[in-house]
Symmetry: C2
Subunit: 317 residues, 2 copies
């Protein structure tokens, strides 16, 4: 896509044209050659959305909860985008079904936009694409962007870093609260929801989480992570949960933490861009005669990867 076409597409999207939005997102996902042109134009229009990350184990009813939250936001007149990311294995058991089931509740509502993203590329490819898709939605003036990921591997943690507020959804069956600790979930959660709270053992999990939160180091004036019970499927506890999430949103703005998070996100974003370019350049370099020679030396163990990296750094300059 050339500069002119990219410009027109972005302008149409900014004017509220739905199809242009969908097309732009596809271009971002597929790393279109006009990607930087697109992002340059979009970027000044971003910063208005509240980006909410949601994670939890398969079977926690996370998607149902996200849908209920979206419905509440809609009732309050807010435009909502849902980005469902599933980088996980076939083994996770609970692939995010994404658009399919969801459309039943929201398909006819222009105030809701839903997109699923799957595993693509490497070297952080998925998290990079996801972050840029969120920036596109942000520029399209969605009030709330719900980013849902399954599990908490490295990719998911990287994705959750773009969120201003992170909700971790658990169910009593998700097992030892020790595992929550082990996986660094305590550090990333701003709010906990214990879903399917009609089940036995849910009170026990709530108590455990509360005591774990209490044990955390928290600076004076810091955010106290609340634990909420929900039963998403019957819409129980969801509006209270939303109030807690909104409190966190206000807390971020008042405490200055919001700017700090935005800085971290932007540094990451620049790194992702440079890293992606580096990968493409390196691929090309290996195709050249000099690159092929270097590869032969590497294969023959007459050169080690660290020396080869140094050679490439010189070539680049």
């Amino acid at each position: 896509m050339d500069r002119k076409a990219a410009q027109t597409l972005v302008e149409n999207m900014l004017a509220g044209h739905r199809l242009s939005l969908a097309r732009l997102i596809s271009k971002v996902e597929n790393r279109d050659s006009s990607l930087n042109l697109i992002m340059e134009q979009l970027y000044p229009h971003t910063g208005g959305a509240w980006i909410l990350g949601i994670t939890g184990p398969p079977g926690s009813g996370k998607s149902t909860l996200v849908d209920q939250m979206a419905a509440h936001f809609r009732k309050a007149g807010k435009k909502v985008a849902i980005v469902a990311v599933d980088p996980s294995s076939p083994f996770s058991g609970g692939a995010i079904l994404g658009d399919r089931i969801r459309m039943q509740q929201h398909w006819n509502d222009p105030g809701v936009f839903i997109r699923s993203l799957g595993t693509r590329g490497k070297h952080g490819g998925l998290s990079h694409a996801t972050k840029e898709v969120v920036l596109v939605l942000d520029s399209a003036r969605f009030d709330v962007i719900l980013v849902e990921t399954a599990g908490v591997g490295q990719t998911e943690l990287d994705i959750l870093r773009l969120a201003q507020t992170v909700l971790v959804v658990l169910v009593p069956e998700s097992g030892d609260s020790i595992q929550v600790m082990k996986a660094g979930l305590m550090e990333i959660a701003d709010v906990f929801a214990v879903n399917k709270s009609d089940r036995p053992e849910s009170d026990k999990l709530v108590r455990e989480l509360i005591s774990m939160v209490g044990l955390m180091d928290r600076p004076a004036g810091g955010w106290a992570v609340p634990v909420h019970k929900t039963e998403a499927i019957r819409d129980i506890g969801v509006s209270e949960l939303l109030k807690a999430l909104e409190s966190h949103h206000h807390f971020l703005a008042e405490s200055g933490a919001r700017e700090w998070k935005a800085s971290e996100f932007l540094k990451n974003e620049v790194m992702d861009i440079l890293s992606e370019r580096l990968g493409l350049r390196l691929q090309e370099a290996f195709e050249t005669k000099a690159g092929q020679k270097l590869l032969k030396q590497l294969l023959g163990r007459r050169m080690d990867p660290y020396k080869a990296a140094a050679v490439f750094e010189k070539i680049k300059k």
Copy 2:
């Protein structure tokens, strides 16, 4: 650690000193400042090991199978290293317990080395560290290096790329074979094992896998992915499985695929090294006055991340 100390440590390790090996691995894991010195010295001594990747869902008995495989290799007089990587979430349910249970069978055997690696860093940090740990073990003249990962997220796929042979372990309970297809497992598996084969439904899974393998595009003379039944806990089918894995090892050498895989691995390795350096440089750049100014402009939306990336690329030169 200075050059002299790094040199001595590597020399001791190459001479077979066990403690030096463990210390070197820790230095690699923790990204010691002498990392490139270490790797430069090691690298000429690598290339002798057979690197075998093993993946499968939690509960597939993957670790038990790996232990049995190690026992068989030991009986054949081979030195075996096991690297267990678990980048997965607390939700996966089947964290690799690693050293603990294993030590029962192997703790007294100097021909077996076991190490667990957990989630560290980002931008491919874990997969990079894992690959270098494997190179260390390779230089330490282990005949077989078993690299075990849970699940098949991006990190795991990246890790499995370093293996010459990939074994995918499934159990009837791991669900739809369609999921195997969806996750790109068909592309990565060189051999399938259906473990816990005493369970009902295991024959059905074997049949499904065989028919899926049959549907794959395979160039003339290409490798036909075999499906084996095992019952690791009772050592049933393990020696037949090993024969299939060894056939693949020979196939690689004869077909030239081994060199191709080694090339891909080396390209990746150079990319990882450059990417890690880029990250460190960028971190430093953001600490400078110019970097702080740029960050302010980014936060104020007067500069977009793509332009900022271009600015940083100029600074670097």
